[in-house]
C-alpha cells in the first residue's frame, strides 16, 4: 500500500495540472483545485499510515521527508481553499481578468506536484528538476498581475532563481563525480540512500567544492541574506496565495535539499564541516532582515523579510549542529511554514478589505474587522516567538543550546531576535490597535484555513506528537 500512496502523492497533482489546463471557468477550476489538493493530502496521510515502501531508484520515503510531504500537502490544501475565495474577490474588483487566470490553477497544481517530487525523490538530479520546475512555475504566477512592479519582481525572480538553480546543478554534478568511483556510473551514483551509505569513501575536496555550489545555489532559493533579493519583491507583487505557498513551502523544500547534502557531508569525516559557513549566512540573514523590517512600508514585503529572518534562524541552527539545535531547526522549519502561511492568509484578506498594502493605511483593524484582527494578532505573536505558540519552543532550544557552547554567537543571535521582535510588535500594535481608518466593508474571508494553521502551531507549542519527535530526533542525530 505504501507504493500506491507514494504514487498518488506524486501523480494526483500532475494529473490535476493537466486536467485544469483545459478548464476555463474559474469557479469549477477553484473547486477542482481544492479537491485535488485534498486528495493529495489524503494520499500523504496514507504515506503516514501504511508501512514505508522500499526506497526505489527514483523515490524514497524516509524519516526526513515524511513530515515535510505531509506539511506540504496540508498547507497546499489550505492555501487552495484560501485562494478560491481570495482570487474570486480579486476577479470581482477587476485586479485580475479571466485571461490572466487561464492557467492559474494548473500552475498551482504543477507547483505542488514538483515540490512533492523534490521531497520524495531518491535521485539527486530528480530533486533538482523538482525544485527547478517549482521555481519556474512560481515565476509565472508572480507575474500574473501584469503590473509593472509585478513584471519587474517576476523578472528579478527568474534571473536570480535560474542563476541559483544552475549553480546548484553544477554542485549536483560534482557530487555525482565524487560518488562515481565508489558507486559506479549511472543511476546508483545519484540515489540518496546509496550516497549516504558510501559517503565516507568520497573525496573530501570534491565534496567541499560541491557543497559551496549547492549552498550558493539552493541558498538563493532558501533566501539567505546576500542571495535574498528576489524574495521580498516576489512576495509583495505576487498574489497572496502564492506568497503563502512560496514562504511556507518552497523555502522549506530548498532548505530540505540543502539538508540532504549536509547529511552526506556530515557522514564524510574528511570534508570541511559546513557549520561555520551556514552559521555566518544564518546570522547575516537574521540581523540583516531584522534591521530591514523597521523601514518597510508594504505589509507583505514586511513579512517576506520576516521569512528571510526565520530561514536565517533555521540555517543558524543547522550550522551550529548538535542534537538539540538540529531538532530545533527541523521544528522551526515546520512551525515557520504553518505560521507564515497563516499570516499571509490574514494579510491577504486585510489588503483586500483595506484596498491597499501600505502599512500606514492599515490602522485600527481590531475595531473594523475583529476576527481578522484576532487571526493576524495570533499569527504575529506566534512568529515573534512568544509562547504558547510553537516557534517559542524551537527558539528556546536554539538559544539555550548555543549559549552553552559559544556565548558570542548566542549574543548575536539574541540581538537579531530582539531587533525583529521590536519591529514585529511595532507593526502588531500599529495595525491591530488604535482608532480605525479606511473602508469598513465586512469581508466574506475564509477564516478556517488560517485558524487551522494557528491551532496546529498552538498545539505544537504545548505538546508534540510522539512519531514526529522520533523522526526529527533520528534526523537530528544524523545531521551532525
Amino acid at each position: 500500500m505504501g507504493e500506491t500512496a507514494r504514487l498518488l502523492v506524486l501523480g494526483i497533482p500532475f494529473a490535476a495540472a493537466g486536467l485544469l489546463s483545459f478548464v476555463a471557468d474559474y469557479r469549477t477550476g477553484a473547486r477542482l483545485n481544492a479537491a485535488a489538493a485534498m486528495a493529495a493530502l489524503l494520499a500523504a496521510t496514507g504515506l503516514l499510515v501504511f508501512e514505508r515502501p522500499e526506497p526505489g531508484i527514483y523515490f524514497i520515503v524516509d524519516d526526513l521527508n515524511t513530515a515535510f510531504v505531509l506539511l506540504n500537502c496540508f498547507v497546499g490544501f489550505t492555501t487552495a481553499v484560501f485562494s478560491a475565495s481570495y482570487i474570486a474577490h480579486e476577479l470581482e474588483i477587476g485586479r485580475l481578468t479571466p485571461t490572466f487566470l487561464r492557467f492559474y490553477h494548473a500552475m498551482y497544481q504543477a507547483m505542488l506536484g514538483s515540490m512533492s517530487l523534490a521531497l520524495l525523490s531518491n535521485n539527486v538530479g530528480l530533486m533538482w528538476v523538482g525544485v527547478e520546475v517549482a521555481t519556474l512555475v512560481t515565476v509565472l504566477m508572480v507575474g500574473i498581475y501584469r503590473t509593472e512592479p509585478a513584471i519587474e519582481a517576476a523578472w528579478k525572480y527568474f534571473i536570480l532563481g535560474s542563476v541559483g538553480i544552475a549553480l546548484a546543478f553544477f554542485g549536483t554534478i560534482l557530487v555525482y563525480l565524487a560518488a562515481q568511483d565508489s558507486l559506479g556510473e549511472g543511476m546508483p551514483a545519484l540515489a540518496w540512500n546509496r550516497l549516504l551509505a558510501a559517503a565516507p569513501l568520497f573525496d573530501p575536496q570534491l565534496l567541499d567544492l560541491a557543497f559551496v555550489f549547492l549552498l550558493v545555489g539552493y541558498g538563493t532559493k532558501v533566501g539567505l541574506a546576500p542571495l535574498h533579493a528576489w524574495l521580498p519583491d516576489a512576495h509583495a507583487e505576487g498574489p497572496t496565495p502564492i506568497s503563502a505557498v512560496l514562504s511556507g513551502l518552497l523555502l522549506n523544500v530548498a532548505l530540505f535539499a540543502l539538508l540532504r547534502f549536509k547529511l552526506v557531508m556530515a557522514a564524510n569525516p574528511g570534508a570541511l564541516t559546513p557549520g561555520p559557513i551556514m552559521v555566518t549566512m544564518g546570522l547575516a540573514s537574521l540581523l540583516f532582515a531584522a534591521l530591514m523590517l523597521y523601514r518597510r512600508r508594504d505589509i507583505k514585503r514586511f513579512f517576506a523579510y520576516s521569512s528571510i529572518e526565520h530561514m536565517g534562524i533555521t540555517t543558524f541552527a543547522f550550522g551550529m549542529g548538535g542534537p538539540l539545535a538540529n531538532f530545533a531547526g527541523l521544528l522551526h522549519m515546520a512551525m515557520h511554514s504553518l505560521t507564515k502561511s497563516a499570516i499571509f492568509m490574514a494579510v491577504g484578506h486585510i489588503a483586500q478589505v483595506k484596498g491597499t498594502q501600505k502599512i500606514e493605511a492599515l490602522k485600527g483593524l481590531g475595531a473594523t474587522h475583529p476576527v481578522l484582527a484576532w487571526g493576524f494578532a495570533i499569527g504575529v505573536v506566534a512568529i515573534a516567538g512568544l509562547p504558547p505558540m510553537g516557534v517559542f519552543t524551537s527558539e528556546f532550544l536554539v538559544v539555550s543550546s548555543t549559549f552553552a557552547r559559544s556565548p558570542w554567537l548566542a549574543i548575536l543571535l539574541v540581538l537579531g531576535l530582539l531587533l525583529a521582535f521590536g519591529a514585529l510588535v511595532l507593526r502588531l500594535v500599529g495595525v491591530v490597535f488604535g482608532p480605525p481608518e479606511g473602508p469598513r466593508t465586512p469581508t466574506h474571508a475564509s477564516y478556517v484555513p488560517m485558524f487551522a494553521h494557528l491551532a496546529f502551531v498552538l498545539l505544537a507549542g504545548i505538546w508534540l506528537p510522539e512519531p514526529l519527535v522520533r523522526w526529527f530526533q533520528t534526523i537530528a542525530a544524523q545531521l551532525g
Binding site: A229, F288, P435
Partner: protein, 671 residues
C-alpha cells in the same frame, strides 16, 4: 501532593474562566462573574499556599506529559513558591474584590475579562514551574497577557506606545533569562531544575549567569536601569490590573531572582550582593525624586513601586553578601526583611492603586492638579488611602514600618564583614534607605494632601461620588490587613521560617512569638525588639486619655467659621498649593543632580504688565542616556541598510557572484 494538585486544579479553573469570558458582552453580568470567580480562586490559592507554608512539608513534585517532548513539564511546590503564591492570592483577592465593584460598569468587557484570569493563572504557574522551559514559558505568557491588559485603553497613543515599549522590554528580559537557563542547563540541555541544582558551575560562568538573572528578572521587576517602561505601562492598564502588575507581577519577578540567585546558581561571590544593594538603594532614591515631581496619580504610584522593588532588591543583595561571607543569621534576617517587605508592598500598593482607581472612577481624571477635597465626597476611599499612604511611608503601627525596621536591623548587624568594600557599601546603603524612607513619607504627604485634602481644583473633583459597596470592601480589606500585619508581625515571621531555611542559608530567625507579647526579637543577644501590639495599645490608651482629659477640661463644643488664612481668605481654589509647588522644595534640592532639572524664569521688564513665565525642564536621565540613543542607533542602522531593497538586478547578481567567488577562494585556501 494534594496541595500541588489543588493548586493545579485552581489554575485550570482560572483558564476555564478566561476561555468562558471570551464570550462576554458589554452590559451583561460577565464582569461580576469573572471578577467574582477570580476572587474565589485567589482566596483558595492563598489558603492552600498558607497551608503548604504552615505544614512546611517536603516539597511536592509533579511532571505533566506536555512541554518539551523528552522533558515534560516539571512542577514543584516548596516553601519559597508557597510564600509567593500566598502573596499572589492576597494581591489578586484584593484587586478582584475591588474590580468586581468598580469593573461592573466596564465599557469594553471583551478586552479585559478573558485576559484577567489568564494573567493570574500564568503568574501562579511561574511560581510552580520547576524546569527552565516551563518557567520561561509561563514567564513570557505572563508578559503577553499583561501586554494585552495594558492595551485595554488602546485608543490613546500613549497607552499603545507604553504597551509596545513594555513588550519589547519583556522580550529583552526573557532573552536574558533564556541565556541564563542555557548556561545553567549546559550544552547537553538538562533543563530540569533538579538537574541544575546538582550541576556544579565554575565561578566565572556562575557570575555571568547571575548578572544575566539580574538583567532578566530586573527588567520585569523594575530594577533601576531597566525600570523605564514601568511608569508608562502600569498606569495605562485599568486600575485593578495596575494593582496586580505593581503589587504581584513585580514580586513574581523577584521570586524568579530569588529562585535563580539562591537556589539554582549555587554559592554566591561576595560582590554579587553589593551590586544588587547598590542598584536597589540608588534606584529607590532616583524613583522617589521622580515620584515627587510626577503629576499623574497612577504614574506616581508606579514610581513608588520601583522604589519599593529597590528596597527588596537591596535586602536580597544584603542577604547574598552575608551568605557569601558565611554569616548565616544576618543573611536569614535580611531575607526575612526582603520577603516581608514584598508582602507588605503587595498589600499597601494594591490598596493605593485601587484607591487611585476609585478616584479615577469618581472624577474621570488622574491629573493631581485637577483633584482636591475628595475626602469630603469620598470619605471611605479617603480613609483607606490614608492608611495605605501611612503604611507605605513606614509609620509605626502599620506594616510598612516592620519590614523597614527589620532591614535596618540587618544593616546594623553587619559591621564584622570581611570584605573592605562591603564595609563601605553597607553603611552607604543604610543612609540611602533612610533617605528613601523619609522621601517616601514626603511623597505620600504630597499625594494624599493634594488629592484628598484642601478644596476641589476642578468641577469633576467637586462632583465626585463614592464607589459602590464591593469596591469599598476592596479598599477595607487591605487597610485592615496593613494594620494587622503591623500589629502582629511575629506570626508572619514564623511563617517565613521554612522559606528562609529552604533557600539554603543554613538557619532561619529564632521563634518570634515566644517573647511574651508576640514581640519581635530577631536576634536575642541584641535585645533590640519591636512589639507592635504593646505600642498600638499604648497609642490607643494615651490617645483616649488625652481626649477625655481635654474634653472634660475644655468642653467639647466647636464653631464653624470662614477660613482664617491670616485675614485675607480667597475663595478661588487656585490659591492653594498645587502638586508641582508641593514638590518644588525637594525638586530644588535633588532635581539638578538626578533629574537634570533646569528652571528658566522670564521676568517682564518693569512697568510691563505681561505675565512672568517660569518653565522647568525635567528629563529622565536613564531614558535619555540609555534608551533613546539605543532606539536612534537601531533606526539609523535600518536607514543605512534600507537602500539594499532598491538595487538593480545586476547589483544583486554581483552579490551572488561575490559570495560564490568568496566561498571558492575560501575552500581553495582551506585546503
Amino acid at each position: 501532593m494534594s496541595l500541588l494538585g489543588t493548586l493545579l486544579g485552581l489554575v485550570v479553573l482560572l483558564l476555564a474562566l478566561a476561555v468562558a469570558a471570551l464570550a462576554s458582552r458589554p452590559g451583561t453580568l460577565w464582569p461580576r462573574i469573572v471578577y467574582g470567580g477570580s476572587l474565589l480562586v485567589a482566596v483558595a490559592i492563598g489558603i492552600t499556599a498558607s497551608l503548604a507554608l504552615a505544614t512546611a512539608a517536603e516539597p511536592a513534585r509533579l511532571v505533566l506529559p506536555i512541554g518539551l517532548p523528552w522533558l515534560g513539564l516539571h512542577l514543584r511546590l516548596d516553601a519559597l513558591s508557597a510564600f509567593f503564591l500566598l502573596l499572589l492570592g492576597i494581591g489578586a483577592a484584593i484587586a478582584s474584590l475591588f474590580a468586581s465593584g468598580y469593573g461592573g460598569s466596564e465599557p469594553e468587557p471583551g478586552r479585559i475579562l478573558p485576559f484577567y484570569p489568564g494573567f493570574l493563572a500564568a503568574m501562579a504557574m511561574v511560581c510552580l514551574a520547576d524546569d527552565a522551559f516551563a518557567f520561561l514559558f509561563f514567564w513570557e505568557v505572563m508578559s503577553l497577557l499583561s501586554f494585552a491588559l495594558v492595551l485595554v485603553g488602546h485608543e490613546e497613543e500613549t497607552s499603545r506606545d507604553a504597551a509596545r515599549f513594555y513588550l519589547v522590554m519583556a522580550g529583552f528580559g526573557t532573552m536574558a533569562l533564556l541565556l541564563t537557563m542555557g548556561l545553567l542547563a549546559g550544552p547537553e540541555g538538562s533543563y530540569d531544575f533538579e538537574a541544575i541544582r546538582t550541576r556544579e558551575l565554575d565561578p566565572g560562568l556562575a557570575t555571568i549567569a547571575f548578572l544575566l538573572a539580574i538583567v532578566g528578572a530586573g527588567s520585569k521587576a523594575g530594577l533601576v536601569p531597566f525600570h523605564v517602561w514601568l511608569p508608562l505601562a502600569h498606569p495605562a492598564a485599568p486600575s485593578p490590573v495596575s494593582a496586580l502588575m505593581s503589587g504581584v507581577m513585580t514580586k513574581v519577578a523577584l521570586y524568579g531572582l530569588l529562585r535563580l540567585a539562591f537556589d539554582l546558581i549555587g554559592d554566591p561571590l561576595w560582590w554579587w550582593g553589593t551590586l544588587l544593594v547598590a542598584l536597589g538603594t540608588g534606584g529607590a532614591v532616583l524613583a522617589l525624586v521622580h515620584a515627587l515631581v510626577e503629576r499623574d496619580a497612577k504614574r506616581l504610584l508606579a514610581w513608588s513601586t520601583i522604589e519599593n522593588i529597590g528596597i527588596v532588591a537591596a535586602a536580597t543583595g544584603l542577604a547574598l553578601a552575608f551568605s557569601a561571607a558565611g554569616l548565616a543569621l544576618p543573611a536569614a534576617l535580611a531575607v526575612t526583611a526582603a520577603l516581608l517587605h514584598a508582602l507588605n508592598h503587595t498589600v499597601f500598593k494594591t490598596l493605593l492603586f485601587c484607591g487611585a482607581g476609585a478616584v479615577l472612577h469618581a472624577t474621570g481624571t488622574r491629573d493631581l492638579e485637577k483633584l482636591g477635597g475628595l475626602i469630603h465626597r469620598l470619605p471611605f476611599t479617603g480613609a483607606a488611602v490614608l492608611v495605605g499612604s501611612a503604611a507605605i511611608s513606614a509609620l509605626p503601627p502599620l506594616n510598612g514600618f516592620v519590614s523597614e525596621w527589620l532591614l535596618f536591623q540587618a544593616i546594623l548587624v553587619s559591621p564584622d564583614l570581611p570584605q573592605a568594600t562591603l564595609r563601605l557599601v553597607i553603611p552607604a546603603a543604610g543612609a540611602l534607605l533612610a533617605l528613601a524612607a523619609a522621601m517616601a513619607a514626603a511623597c505620600f504627604v504630597r499625594f494624599y494632601g493634594i488629592v484628598f485634602l484642601g478644596r476641589p481644583r476642578s468641577p469633576e473633583a467637586a462632583g465626585a461620588h463614592e464607589v459602590d459597596l464591593l469596591s469599598r470592601a476592596g479598599l477595607l480589606v487591605p487597610a485592615t490587613l496593613c494594620l494587622l500585619l503591623g500589629v502582629f508581625p511575629a506570626p508572619v515571621i514564623d511563617l517565613l521560617g521554612p522559606v528562609v531555611t529552604g533557600l539554603g542559608l543554613g538557619s532561619s530567625l529564632p521563634e518570634q512569638g515566644v517573647g511574651g507579647w508576640l514581640s519581635l526579637q530577631p536576634i536575642p543577644e541584641r535585645r533590640a525588639s519591636y512589639d507592635g501590639l504593646v505600642l498600638f495599645s499604648f497609642l490607643i490608651l494615651a490617645g483616649a486619655f488625652t481626649a477625655a482629659l481635654v474634653h472634660r477640661l475644655g468642653g467639647a463644643g466647636l464653631r464653624r467659621g470662614p477660613i482664617w488664612d491670616c485675614g485675607y481668605p480667597d475663595p478661588a481654589p487656585s490659591t492653594q498649593y498645587t502638586a508641582a509647588s508641593m514638590g518644588q522644595p525637594i525638586r530644588r534640592v535633588m532635581g539638578p543632580l538626578l533629574l537634570a532639572a533646569e528652571e528658566h524664569v522670564v521676568m517682564p521688564p518693569p512697568l510691563d504688565p505681561s505675565p512672568a513665565r517660569l518653565d522647568v525642564r525635567l528629563s529622565d536621565r536613564v531614558m535619555d542616556g540609555l534608551y533613546r540613543p539605543l532606539t536612534t542607533a537601531v533606526l539609523a542602522l535600518a536607514d543605512r541598510l534600507n537602500p539594499l531593497q532598491f538595487q538593480t538586478i545586476r547589483r544583486y547578481l554581483v552579490l551572488v557572484f561575490l559570495v560564490l567567488v568568496g566561498l571558492l577562494v575560501l575552500t581553495a585556501a582551506g585546503r
